[in-house]
Symmetry: C2
Subunit: 320 residues, 2 copies
């Protein structure tokens, strides 16, 4: 099992060595569900699991991309290498401004200490979460010091943040209306840190106080009490404070049994999910080839049998 | 199998007799996934399958609810009984106006020829589609002459319309900007009929012409060329034309082999899906009770084994 290291295929060795083009190709393979992705993820897995993955969620227009850009500048100044994954919303409600912000990252192409990748959120939420987790693993194996994941705050996509990030930052702006909407959408439950961005706008103290009061209602099930920080990505200000809060939470997680158990649970769920997917695929192919299914469908179409009873018969047959 | 008729349980008999309270209770049971729903759906299935199910999709603010209200008025005047299912968006982007419009339906409570029910779209899209299909079946068994299903045009929820409705109406307004957004969101592919509502606003002829040109590019895979109608729910005007187009499509569907095959396919998928769900549930319980899974997770946590290879071992064991 530890033999994985010696049998690393060439493309995997290139990723581990820090070859950016090999990493980019591997990520594309993950996005497309190409078969070579599977081999690369298997063979590089032993090199993963130590990097902090910081998730940023929040509604459109709160300036998450600018905030990440400012954070990357600070991290690079301290010599830390950074992988950034931006999950593009596929919803028609969003659009231009997000992409506009991202161009700032693309312009860093000359700095080999930053790797930026955007991913389309497409259909199923399970799909995005799984693909994002795999891309984060590849960046981890490639040796980046920290991974930042940005999503737009729609319930579907935030599942990715919940399942993957070791620290979850919810970014808001100083307008109570927006906050109330956001808290409704379930972002409150996932926040380890609240970041009131655009803090140069009026109302940011009120927003900070309001969130601090909410956070002060009590620590979460893991014993962590959400921090509230204020930032401005444009000034910029508050970025070191945001990073300190993130580091504080990362230290907390490292010593937390609840988080160790949660990580174990997630890996167990991933394994069971893979077994289920594989056996389900086989089952579907087998059932659809069966004459018995066609006979039952005939009866259901004719309303002589209901779909539930038809399924019961096939289940009974499978159990035999 | 045809013995179902003689063994109809009392609650199912009440639904078939047209007892509104029995129907309302059964729908609530479906929404909550309560066990009595299963029995009712099994026992009433033989009474379903003949009613037209007309789906209405489109973005927020195009006046779908008012349009449905005007359509219900016309259908009732002609003596047709109507079941209405409105799928409430769970997204924070929507809200008050939708609910406001719906109050018009609630006020028809004195007319026993109309049955209105709204459903929350909650999490999974598969979940909403399945629940909506079951509610439509109950209304069908209760003997309503036509069922109207209204959704807000977000990709997730429109799956319900695609899978359930026999005729799909996409409702738009005379502003090209909105239309382009909507077409992007995939509504174009599901439209049997385009309805340009609020046709008293400027630009409605242009919108009609634009959509007619798009529809004129060719018939869909079933041989149907989408119709374009103009309505105003407030005047009201165009409602008879809309209903004629719906009836024309229903006649087309009744004589179409493509649609018969598609219906067969949907029922087959439903049966296979139920078998899969049941066996998957059992498999998950069995795997999670296994010591071997715990041993494999230990190795994956320690990075001595990757999740894919761990899953392979369990799959191999299941196959033995």
């Amino acid at each position: 099992m530890t033999g994985q290291r010696t049998t690393l295929p060439p493309a995997a060795r290139a990723i581990v060595r820090g070859d950016r083009r090999a990493l980019a190709r591997a990520i594309t393979a993950v996005e497309n569900g190409a078969p070579e992705a599977d081999l690369l993820l298997r063979s590089t897995y032993s090199r993963t699991g130590r990097v902090p993955i910081i998730g940023f969620a929040g509604p459109l227009g709160v300036g998450k991309s600018s905030l990440l850009s400012a954070l990357v500048t600070q991290l690079r100044a301290a010599g830390t290498t950074v992988g950034v994954i931006a999950i593009d919303p596929s919803s028609p409600f969003s659009g231009g401004s997000v992409l506009g912000d991202r161009i700032r990252f693309e312009r860093r192409a000359d700095d080999t200490g930053v790797f930026f990748r955007s991913m389309a959120s497409r259909g199923a939420s399970g799909g995005v979460a799984a693909a994002t987790r795999d891309v984060a693993r590849l960046m981890d194996a490639a040796g980046f010091g920290v991974i930042l994941v940005e999503t737009v705050g729609s319930g579907q996509v935030d599942v990715a943040i919940r399942e993957i990030a070791s620290t979850r930052v919810v970014v808001l702006v100083p307008h109570l209306g927006d906050e109330v909407q956001t808290l409704k959408a379930g972002l409150f439950e996932i926040a380890d840190i609240f970041c009131v961005n655009k803090s140069d706008l009026p109302g940011s103290e009120t927003a900070e106080r309001y969130l601090s009061e909410l956070a002060g209602l009590g620590p979460g099930p893991d014993g962590w009490r959400a921090r509230v920080v204020r930032t401005s990505a444009t000034v910029p200000s508050g970025i070191p404070g945001l990073w300190s809060a993130i580091e504080e939470h990362e230290r907390f997680v490292a010593g937390s049994d609840v988080h160790r158990q949660a990580e174990r649970r997630r890996l167990s769920d991933e394994i069971v999910g893979r077994v289920r997917d594989e056996l389900t695929r086989e089952l579907t192919l087998r059932l659809e080839a069966e004459a018995e299914l066609r006979r039952l469908v005939d009866q259901v179409v004719a309303r002589k049998l209901d779909p539930r009873s038809a399924a019961d018969r096939l289940v009974a047959e499978e159990r035999r």
